[in-house]
């Protein structure tokens, strides 16, 4: 096995220093995805900087105005169980609470969840030198692609794996990133990037940057919901998920965010569906229209056409549940 150092950090500054000090160092939070990568020989870091021990990154906090802050090290289990989140940001609590399995949720951090790498089997198998690993093909195109994307594909086609990202984008969350050049705050919707920008990455996390916090603006006046379709109820990712957050004004929708998971290379804003909702009252008709519009631009691959139908059904269902 590739030998590496394990360095424990107790502050974010220390973590950044440890990262910068040795080339090819990477961060480890819960380690669920990092350890998988090590075991599958997908990465060979010189140093793992363990940030599980960094203090101050594991708080959940709601301020007087209702703005939510979640430390990057808060586990999925804690997000799911938090009373404030369950009340005001139910889509987030649900997405985290249904992810994976109880054991994994107790270890996995929300930061790591947003930054986990795709699960496409070609990416995960060392023997397939795919475009996400610096090769020149996406094996899914001519291969077995039932779980791959219908939106935002090319030149790679893996679905973005994070369940938490879907409601966070819908809630208009932003991410606080601490790096060598200082601290920046990025809207979650802009943090994730398509593979045509760089097929080897899914986001714009900079060299040496640490995600410290997730900020979610107050949900006052917003209605939201989340749902997903699963082949297997536990120990698995959904095949499609959808989060919807709307604000109403006098009986009709003033603004809406509809975000799809597991169908695109990033958490996917279904903007046409959002447009279909705005100005309409929530109800069966607008839900149907949103469902239909949500698949605008879908480009199914050979084996994943079913995801198109699932998106329509799910968006319809989630919007209708808000009425």
């Amino acid at each position: 096995m590739h030998n590496f150092e394990l360095a424990k950090a107790y502050t974010t500054t220390q973590a950044r220093d440890l990262l910068a000090e040795k080339p090819n160092s990477i961060l480890k939070a819960g380690g669920i995805d990092v350890i998988d990568h090590l075991k599958q020989h997908l990465i060979a870091p010189n140093r793992l900087v363990d940030i599980k021990s960094v203090s101050g990154l594991d708080d959940i906090d709601v301020d007087r105005d209702g703005n939510l802050r979640i430390g990057a090290l808060v586990t999925l289990a804690r997000v799911a169980a938090d009373e404030d989140i369950k009340k005001d940001f139910p889509a987030l609590a649900q997405a985290c609470g249904e992810a994976a399995s109880p054991q994994i949720r107790n270890v996995a951090t929300i930061g790591g969840n947003l930054l986990q790498r795709p699960r496409c089997w070609y990416y995960r198998l060392e023997s397939y030198k795919c475009i996400k690993k610096g090769g020149d093909t996406c094996f899914a195109i001519a291969g077995m692609n039932r779980y791959n994307v219908i939106f935002g594909g090319g030149p790679a086609y893996p679905p973005h794996p994070s369940s938490a990202a879907v409601p966070l984008v819908a809630y208009g969350a932003s991410l606080v990133l601490e790096g060598p050049e200082g601290t920046r705050t990025v809207p979650a919707g802009e943090f994730f990037v398509l593979p045509d920008v760089d097929p080897e990455r899914e986001n714009t996390l900079g060299e040496g940057e640490i995600l410290t916090e997730i900020r979610v603006p107050a949900a006052a006046g917003k209605k939201s919901a989340y749902a997903e379709v699963r082949e297997r109820a536990g120990f698995d990712w959904p095949v499609v998920s959808a989060a919807v957050a709307v604000e109403e004004d006098g009986g009709s929708v003033k603004s809406a965010r509809i975000v799809l998971g597991q169908v695109a290379t990033i958490p996917w804003r279904a903007t046409k569906a959002e447009e279909a909702l705005v100005g309409q009252p929530l109800g069966a008709a607008s839900a149907e229209a949103a469902g239909q519009a949500a698949v605008d631009g879908a480009e199914p691959m050979t084996d994943n056409g079913y995801k198109v139908d699932l998106v329509t059904a799910l968006v319809r269902r989630v919007v209708a549940s808000l009425a």
Binding site: F139, A233, D236
Partner: protein, 765 residues
């Protein structure tokens, strides 16, 4: 499986009451001389332990992590072995260069194959042994193999196409010289009776459908592996195996040493399901390789496969494409069944699925069966819990449902109408009651809302197999403690507990008073655990050995009680005069009278004789909920009704049945070995994307056992490990149909397939 209907002469005749308690049948059986009068219906009410629920003895060890599995064995100076598998699906090995691997510090031995042909990815190529698993892994990665690649074929249906690359050139295919092989297709093996053309001509209704099941892997939680330890010529092998004796035989032959030099031990194992019947595995010789590495290195070697390797080379259940045509009269009486099956066992033969078609509904006069084996460049299959029967029953029992729909008959009534087994005939009603059959939709899919519930059922069958080559040893010590010894291993059925129950019944003490020692070739020989034979092969020898020991105990007790040994009885921990129970000794007191230190009795199993039924019946009911908008299926409840002769330990017996239903639901809804068509390697060689049912998917599972005196041996015990998985796939598919009106003819029944079937059903309506 050896099976004899009649003991060889000389024999003793016993008149017995056989069959179901509700319908006792007089029967005459011919047991070998020296055998005991079999337990029959008259014994049933008097049983003290047989059929009662006993927690498995090793339960506490397992849940506290103290049970020692092969994986847990650690010997001083032990090295770690690792196999290197072929990375291509077809071609020739040009060279294997192990220099770099050997040069790595910590590497103590390497092995490489002499065979040059590669027919599946994962086939043995080389192996290493090193001081740690990490060094072994690094060394394995340093082995350089050069291949000349050849075109390959990855899947059953593609392999059947004209012009598909050939897995075997002429004369190379497994399955014997006289089989016909065209392209990748061997067969057919034919079977049947009567004249199907004439039968279909009489039919008022006929249906014909084709069903498909992908390859399913055993996915044992403990992967295959051994620890090999030489001391001079003496070899001890700890193995996660279903057959310690079979492993000993295979290894002794491969290593060209005497059997007496080889000891194989399997104290506990984490699942086999048929994949651990070979000395190594059907697609790997890792155990033999580990022994060779250990010899070379002069140190013990532990070689466990990892999950990825496990998925490639340790066997699987064949995929199958099955076409069933059934004709019936208006009242449902079957007039003809035509059954054609193409199965792929990868590079192996033996992909038959016709067991259920050959056995169920035996009153149907006209049956035509054709079974073909299709070769693909994938790992060889291995028996998997009732080999071929789950696939076959899925097709046949789905077709029966389709026929019922066409005839407008309740699917249960259709089965009852054509039932040929008196046992299954008696199993329907308890199942109907437990599932609430009357709650099913009168018209499929006829419920409001997107989430629809439905109930379905299916039948399954298995056979009474027995292995006669069994010896058991029972010891009663002077302090009254009792041990029993059987070489057979506990595959997870609770074998060691069940054997204690049998001995306890005979000795008149509690099962927990007995210590069972199993899974070691130092103990008397016992069968491999395959074919549902272990319990019913060993139990009769346990009873005989316990009976011998009891007779000796009675001899010493008789003196103390001033009675004749023939007057004594033992029950409830006492030895007493049957006619005067007050004249009694405790079992311990009786033992203390023995002149020596131990009463030590061995007994051979007597030959199997007439059985009430040669087949085992089973029927299952499933209730599901289908989300018709998302295609998600959740199983809510399953009920299995089975017979196994007399159950020995009802708790572990029901465990078997519930486990089989879980494995079956997993097969029905999730499991799918997926191979890339362009590269030819499995893309989900893990337990993440190769999906097995998770705890969250669990359903309410109920096992109902129907005890019956089946005879065949002195305990009337028959097998149970395999049969309860046979009906599950069909029961789930039929329940989905009842819920939605959509017929799922292809597994696994994932949302995409459910939605497609719903769309098809809508198109029909």
């Amino acid at each position: 499986m050896p099976q004899e209907d009649k003991a060889q002469e000389p024999s003793v005749t016993f008149k017995v009451k056989a069959g179901l308690p509700s319908d006792p049948q007089e029967m005459e059986v011919h047991a070998a001389e020296g055998d005991l009068k079999p337990w029959d219906l008259e014994s049933l009410p008097g049983f003290q332990h047989m059929g009662k629920p006993y927690p498995r003895f090793d339960g506490p060890l397992k849940v506290t992590g103290r049970a020692r599995y092969t994986y847990d064995i650690k010997l001083p100076g032990m090295l770690y072995g690792r196999m290197v598998g072929a990375t291509i699906p077809a071609g020739t090995i040009v060279s294997i260069d192990t220099t770099k691997a050997e040069a790595l510090p910590g590497v103590k031995a390497v092995w490489s194959t002499e065979s040059k042909k590669v027919r599946f990815a994962g086939q043995d190529v080389a192996a290493v042994a090193a001081v740690s698993p990490e060094v072994a892994m690094d060394a394995a990665r340093l082995v350089e193999v050069t291949y000349e690649e050849k075109p390959f074929i990855h899947e059953l249906r593609a392999a059947m196409e004209d012009g598909a690359p050939l897995v075997f050139t002429e004369g190379e295919a497994p399955g014997g010289e006289d089989q016909r092989v065209r392209g990748n297709v061997a067969g057919p093996r034919r079977g049947g009776r009567g004249n199907v053309a004439a039968g279909f001509a009489q039919a008022a209704a006929t249906i014909e459908s084709t069903y498909y099941l992908p390859v399913h892997t055993h996915s044992c939680l403990e992967t295959h592996g051994v620890v090999a330890h030489w001391e001079g010529e003496q070899l001890t092998v700890y193995s996660s195996t279903q057959g310690v004796y079979a492993t000993r035989e295979g290894l002794a032959e491969a290593l060209e040493t005497d059997r007496k030099n080889v000891r194989v031990i399997c104290e506990h194992m984490g699942g086999g399901f048929g994949s651990k019947l070979s000395p190594s595995a059907t697609g790997s010789a890792f155990a033999m390789v580990a022994c060779k590495l250990a010899k070379k290195a002069g140190a013990p070697v532990k070689l466990m496969l990892d999950r990825h390797q496990e998925q490639l080379c340790t066997g699987n259940a064949p995929s199958a494409q099955i076409t069933v045509k059934i004709g019936a009269k208006k009242d449902g009486t079957l007039t003809a069944v035509e059954y054609t099956s193409y199965g792929s066992a990868g590079v192996a033969g033996g992909a038959g699925t016709a067991g259920p078609a050959n056995t169920l509904y035996a009153n149907n006069p006209n049956l035509k069966v054709e079974e073909y084996a299709v070769f693909t460049n994938t790992g060889p299959s291995a028996p998997l819990r009732a080999p071929g029967h789950s696939q076959g029953a899925f097709a046949l029992e789905s077709a029966m449902d389709e026929l019922a729909e066409k005839l407008g008959i309740d699917p249960l009534e259709l089965r009852k109408k054509n039932e040929s087994s008196p046992i299954r005939a008696a199993e329907y009603d308890p199942g109907v009651k437990a599932i609430g059959w009357e709650r099913r939709n009168k018209k499929a899919g006829d419920t409001p809302g997107p989430k629809k519930r439905g109930i379905g059922m299916a039948n399954g069958n298995w056979y009474v197999f027995a292995n006669p080559n069994v010896t058991v040893e029972v010891k009663i010590h002077r302090d009254g403690s009792v041990e029993l010894f059987s070489g057979s291993q506990d595959i997870g059925t609770g074998f060691r507990t069940a054997m204690a129950v049998v001995a306890a019944e005979e000795l008149g003490i509690a099962p927990t008073d007995i210590t069972s020692h199993v899974g070691d070739t130092q103990y008397p020989q016992g069968p491999s655990s395959g074919g549902s034979v272990t319990t019913n092969s060993v139990a009769p020898a346990v009873r005989l050995a316990a009976n011998e020991a009891k007779k000796k105990l009675f001899e010493v007790a008789a003196k103390a009680l001033d009675a004749d040994p023939g007057e004594l009885k033992s029950e409830g921990g006492k030895v007493f005069v049957a006619a005067d129970p007050a004249r009694a000794l405790s079992f311990k007191e009786a033992a203390s009278k023995m002149p020596g230190e131990v009463i030590d009795c061995s007994a051979d199993r007597k030959t199997q004789y007439e059985t009430f039924r040669r087949d085992l019946a089973g029927t299952q009911f499933a209730e599901v909920e289908v989300d018709t908008e998302t295609g998600e299926v959740r199983v809510l409840k399953m009920v299995s009704v089975n017979d196994c002769g007399f159950p020995v330990n009802s708790l572990t017996a029901k465990n078997q049945v519930i486990g089989a239903m879980i494995q079956g639901v997993s097969w029905a809804l999730l499991e799918d070995r997926i191979v890339d068509p362009n590269v030819g390697t499995m893309v989900n060689p893990n337990l993440e994307a190769y999906k097995i049912l998770s705890p969250k998917d669990m359903f309410e599972a109920e096992s109902i056992l129907v005890p019956q005196a089946n005879l065949g041996n002195n305990t009337s015990v028959a097998g149970l490990g395999e049969p309860p998985i046979v009906p599950t796939l069909g029961a789930v598919a039929n329940a989905i149909y009842n819920a939605t009106g959509a017929r799922l003819r292809e597994l696994p029944m994932t949302p995409d397939r459910v939605l497609a079937a719903l769309a098809e059903a809508e198109g029909r309506a």
